[in-house]
Symmetry: none
Subunit: 238 residues, 2 copies
DNA sequence: CGCTTGGTGTTATCGTCGATGACATGGATA
DNA sequence: TATCCATGTCATCGACGATAACACCAAGCG
């Protein structure tokens, strides 16, 4: 086993198990069975070690995901890319934080690769004339929103318990950068109906308590609100 | 001058000038003219000191912005809130990173207050029947996207040079959570809300049976429909 | 073969950091 | 006046990132 590789693997292991999201060079060198100066000769400094580790973890995850090849519809790839990004963040929160929250002094290659993959999908969409903004602008909008959602899910899971959040923000951004698909009228009608239901439930939910005179008992109100919330919160495909 | 206040001000000063975004307790105690243990007695630990400092900086910024009072259009307030959030991040990047990137073990009050202000505006919109999702969901969507944009602008300014990015993402999210404005904005809010309420009840009433999968038992459906009919048929203004 | 050279790893140590125990001081209170 | 608590200081600890100095060893070359 390559010394460099075993150090990186030890770092990845410790990082994944670290509650604080940090790792000491001493712990790494001990786990890898070497002395500290080895790390500094191979990686320059701690930041370099972490950067190499993040790239390693990212490559591993991406490799296991690359089985899902490019579909013929770039929109599908765009959605899959977003979901994959979010899933990686949840699967490797500490590595993800290092990747985007940037305690590192220089950007990991993984962050640039994520951006590259995203831009490539967007350029395919642009070639089909389905983008309403430049691929660059679209890439920035998608990437910033995606990292925002992912970091929130990671660092404040209690505040963001909703499983649909990522998909909702995803579709919000996608609708903003994409031209509306011309066909699929039936599908659009379905979505519109579903949307109207949720909007109606939301509207009612916010005003049930203010009916005057109040036609419901408190218990009735509570039950009604619970049902309305269920309708308002029901997930919706694009 | 209060010792606690002068320590916080010294910390804020050092934090603003710190290239790394970090501050040592030694530097703080020296700048404030006290010894280290004072910090630990007043703030518990370094995290507590930073949290107090973030709250202080945020309050200062918010105070200078509170001159812009609530307008009569909550949508204007929603946009202003987003822009204000982004502007704060750019004006106080280190404080902002502490606020949302969370090296802190517990959340600063400032982060919760930002969320509170946002939710309040969204609830005003919901009462006017202009939200297509629950205020909670809307708040999460707006907050995550906004922090994502702000963190990207702060930590990767070279990758995100576009000045329009924040506004583009802002409007993308707002379009996704808001109903398209139907008529003129001159409609009286109360009447519109009342109309919207009855219309919402009618809309829901006609589709309760068509939910797939059906989330309610037949008995629940029956009761829900009875209540909705009551709301839909109510003629009294609120 | 014997000598050099460069890659690899070790030992010992530095300066900084967050944190804390033990002690001093000074004013309010009983 | 005696007591007590709030406030602050001095001295120090253990963990950390980082580095200088040295040890080993196989490859290349006269």
């Amino acid at each position: 086993m390559d010394t460099r590789s075993s150090i990186i693997e030890a770092t990845a292991e410790l990082l994944a198990r670290s509650p604080s999201g940090d790792v000491s060079t001493r712990a790494v060198s001990e786990a890898a069975g070497v002395q500290q100066p080895v790390l500094y000769r191979l990686f320059g400094d701690k930041s370099g070690l972490l950067r190499a580790t993040v790239d390693y973890v990212w490559d591993q995850y991406l490799g296991s995901k690359r089985a899902a090849e490019k579909s013929d519809d770039p929109l599908e790839d765009l959605r899959a890319g977003w979901d994959s990004h979010t899933a990686f963040a949840l699967a490797h929160p500490n590595a993800y934080k290092l990747m985007f929250s940037s305690a590192l002094d220089s950007e990991p290659e993984a962050a640039e690769e994520a951006m590259r993959i995203l831009r490539e999908v967007l350029e395919r969409l642009a070639k089909q004339g389905r983008l309403r903004v430049t691929p660059d602008m679209a890439a920035r909008m998608v990437m910033t929103a995606n990292t925002g959602v992912a970091l929130a899910l990671i660092t404040r899971p209690r505040l963001y318990p909703d499983q649909n959040l990522s998909v909702m923000v995803r579709d919000a951004i996608h609708r903003a950068i994409l031209l509306a698909p011309e066909g699929t009228a039936a599908h659009a009608a379905d979505a519109a109906a579903h949307d109207a239901r949720r909007a109606a439930a939301t509207t009612l939910l916010s005003s049930v308590d203010e009916f005057t005179p109040q036609p419901f008992t408190p218990a009735e109100s509570a039950l009604l609100k619970q049902w309305l919330a269920q309708i308002a919160g029901s997930g919706q495909p694009s």
